[in-house]
Symmetry: C2
Subunit: 488 residues, 2 copies
């Protein structure tokens, strides 16, 4: 069936579950055809929106296309598309920013409403109807289970040898019928290589031959290399004092340039036989596997730059033995992240002197991308790092502030904060102690005296557990909104 014909089967106002995770595995044609249809409907004066549920971020041909034509009512759970972001921040799209490990179950519980249609990219359909998953599993298992109708895009571009790389676990259930998830090693297999779908629900099959998003990462710069160096020193020290096994523990690495640079730093680090238990496998981790520094990795998606994708495709036989792709409810599952003792490394927008973390909001109101899986890993991991350059916007903005303008990870969940200036190990510290360490180790010298001044003056006032001057706590952000700079 053509994408246009398939798109015509999606009712206005429906909740549509789409495949796709960090720019890979999303449907390539139907969303664009749907966008065209919506544009025509709007031109004819007829309202038409759909609610778009995915695995995580997708690409211009999904989020971009639908947002651009004003066809998106609701969007969940993670996005990073510039047009989609603008529509969210213009108040035109209702964006639900949900922990990635919570999405499938909330949909299954019925908390998000019924799903009328799923649009899922696969690499093939077996004679018995089972599906070969694509480069991203994401929430596809759940979407295929709960949707009333299913549209499949069958993409013939990715290497056929990806068949068998996936581990789709069908053992989850709704309480009170849940059982332990018997995974005890990052790349153990507990499921089956194929997705199931009730053939009676499949209303369209659309052939495609299109690549995933393959944007290149910024080359690690001095700042991110320094961040990486601080982390590696710290990990080596933890091994030395016996708080980490020599082979380390499974690594999770977040999205963004800095997170990728940290992985690059591990290439020359003292650790071998690393394991990955992460959500999205990007260039940095692929390189670790290629160079034999990482033995194997579990993820829910592979999202690579053009060069890395070529490496992956050319050597698929090597990588398919070393990478397992799972549903995101498994890749990010609190039970598993805690059991395996994952070392979590996520980028952030800003931290405050008490260790609260803002991963999502610019100046308290504008959404950047979303929390993604950072909460799943930061809360449940063995160690959790949050990293950022100490300043943003050419130095006009300090990423260490008196009080964050939005909280995604609370002081209770933050262990280690790293900037190019240094590393603050907050384990076992009370708030006032944390503040001094964060100011001393992480703040940029331009901002350090101002933070110290705030902290000192706050200590002259009221409650001393978490000293604050509430009338001033967010003034740095307000000034930045007013003048474009946090500077006085």
């Amino acid at each position: 069936m053509s994408a246009d014909q398939a798109a015509a089967l999606i009712p206005a106002g429906s909740n549509v579950g789409m495949s796709g995770f960090t720019g890979s595995g999303h449907p390539k044609l139907v969303p664009q055809a749907l966008a065209a249809r919506i544009e025509a409907e709007h031109a004819a004066g007829r309202p038409f929106k759909v609610n778009v549920w995915t695995g995580a971020s997708t690409a211009p041909e999904l989020d971009g296309a639908l947002a651009k034509v004003g066809g998106m009512g609701q969007r969940l759970p993670f996005q990073s598309d510039p047009i989609c972001r603008d529509k969210i921040n213009a108040g035109e799209v209702d964006y639900l920013d949900i922990h990635l490990s919570h999405v499938a179950q909330q949909a299954w519980f019925g908390f998000l409403g019924p799903m009328q249609v799923a649009v899922v990219e696969v690499l093939g359909i077996l004679p018995d109807g089972r599906l070969i998953p694509s480069a991203a599993v994401g929430n596809n298992k759940t979407w295929l289970d709960i949707a009333d109708k299913v549209i499949l895009e069958v993409n013939s571009l990715p290497p056929a040898e990806m068949e068998g790389m996936h581990d789709i676990y069908y053992g989850t259930a709704i309480p009170p019928r849940r059982l332990p998830i018997n995974l005890t090693q990052p790349i153990e297999r507990i499921g089956e290589p194929y997705l199931r779908v009730d053939p009676a629900k499949v209303i369209a099959v659309v052939p495609t031959h299109h690549g995933d998003r393959d944007t290149a990462f910024a080359k690690p710069d001095a700042v991110s290399s320094q961040i990486a160096a601080h982390i590696i020193d710290f990990l080596a020290h933890e091994v030395k004092v016996g708080r980490l096994p020599k082979a380390m523990l499974p690594l999770q690495s977040g999205v963004g340039n800095v997170a990728n640079a940290v992985l690059a730093g591990l290439l020359d680090g003292p650790f071998d036989d690393l394991l990955g238990f992460t959500e999205v496998l990007q260039d940095g981790m692929l390189e670790l596997i290629k160079r034999g520094k990482m033995a194997a990795a579990s993820a829910t998606a592979i999202s690579l730059s053009r060069d890395a994708l070529k490496e992956f495709t050319d050597n698929i036989g090597f990588y398919r033995e070393r990478i397992v792709l799972r549903p995101q409810e498994i890749s990010n599952h609190p039970e598993l992240v805690r059991r395996l003792g994952v070392i979590a490394m996520n980028a952030m927008i800003e931290a405050d002197i008490y260790g609260n973390i803002n991963s999502t909001h610019i100046m308290g109101s504008s959404m950047m991308n979303g929390i993604g899986g950072s909460g799943d890993f930061a809360r449940n991991g063995y160690l959790s790092f949050f990293v950022t350059p100490s300043v943003a916007k050419g130095g006009q903005v300090s990423c260490i502030v008196p009080m964050v303008s939005h909280v995604d990870h609370t002081e209770h969940d933050t262990q280690i904060i790293v900037t190019e200036q240094g590393l603050a190990d907050l384990r076992g510290l009370a708030p006032r102690q944390r503040a001094q360490v964060i100011i001393d180790k992480c703040a940029h010298p331009d901002w350090r005296p101002l933070l110290q001044d705030y902290f000192d003056r706050a200590r002259q006032k009221g409650g001393q557990h978490t000293p604050h001057i509430l009338g001033e706590a967010l003034s740095w952000h307000q000034r930045c909104l007013d003048t474009g700079s946090m500077r006085v």
Copy 2:
């Protein structure tokens, strides 16, 4: 050995792991003897402090006594003692407010430093050295495991029939050797009834015959009864639409008067055969069991008023079949809370219009009690309620505010907010939608127009994902600090 002799064995500056959870199971004599010793040392001009790690809050004879003499350096992970609270807020005690499910593992990982001494209340010592746990298990298993030396208080007051009520799980481990925790029903037994200790580490055994804290709860008033009624209506509706099984799911109930009142409300509710999977079993849950509304409950501690304690003791044969006491790493374990699909109900200090929750800080700086296990249950539960009266301080303070002055639970973790005014079901709503529902349903009529005005004006400005006016967001709190009232 006498308590004084035992207290003399605790070195200045040591990390001391004490038993005790919500006023029960704490050592009754050694902490007081230690406080007397510290007072004498201070009088002689010698500095003397210890760091006090417990299960959760204790009682005047532990937290109160040690705080009063200035003998507490560090305190973790939860407290509710007025003197201890004052010392924290005076900046004299370093308080670490840690998720209750994280404490044992962080200590075991070595993140908090070595533990020189454990002081643990038990009900008896078996001939082979194993210990009969008391009314609170808390972190005792871990304290006994990791402490260099152990002091035991053997309390002969609690009923001997408590022997066998406990389920101490010895299957936890440090990553990478962790395995699934095979608990699939709230009161299933997976461990053994006794605590283990290396007899070579036991340096003192002190006999006691003292009761636990037995303060009465406030009788449910109109406000808390209305909150309970909203919750029960909501749960009944969820059953009706098929999002909850008829027998419900296991209940967790937090600390405080309001949480207790909600349980009282269930006495006359339409639900039978309830199960509890909670952290502390208080009067409300005991009454549900007594009246046959709740079949059984799992907890880490029993903490009762004087009257309820008499009921429990008089009918211990009945209750010991229906209550299992576990280590708090199990009672609060994310793996189990999620698997069992717990319905979490916790009190809070304030919520903001976007659903961020403050459970711990008065006006952003002063610690009230601590986060306790609320994060373990709110993040991982099937449903999560946060409850509060809509106003505090005789109406001078609105508990629904533009922006909370401290965040313990983020918008990503909040599902349902309840005040006596009504219930806001936030599932599936984006921030702007949440704000309108919270203002309409939960705010007190005195404050509703002011919240609406803030929200309306915030929407005239900048980013529309989470509209805020940063210069004004915390002004209600600042005004309250300045004038004693949030009113203009």
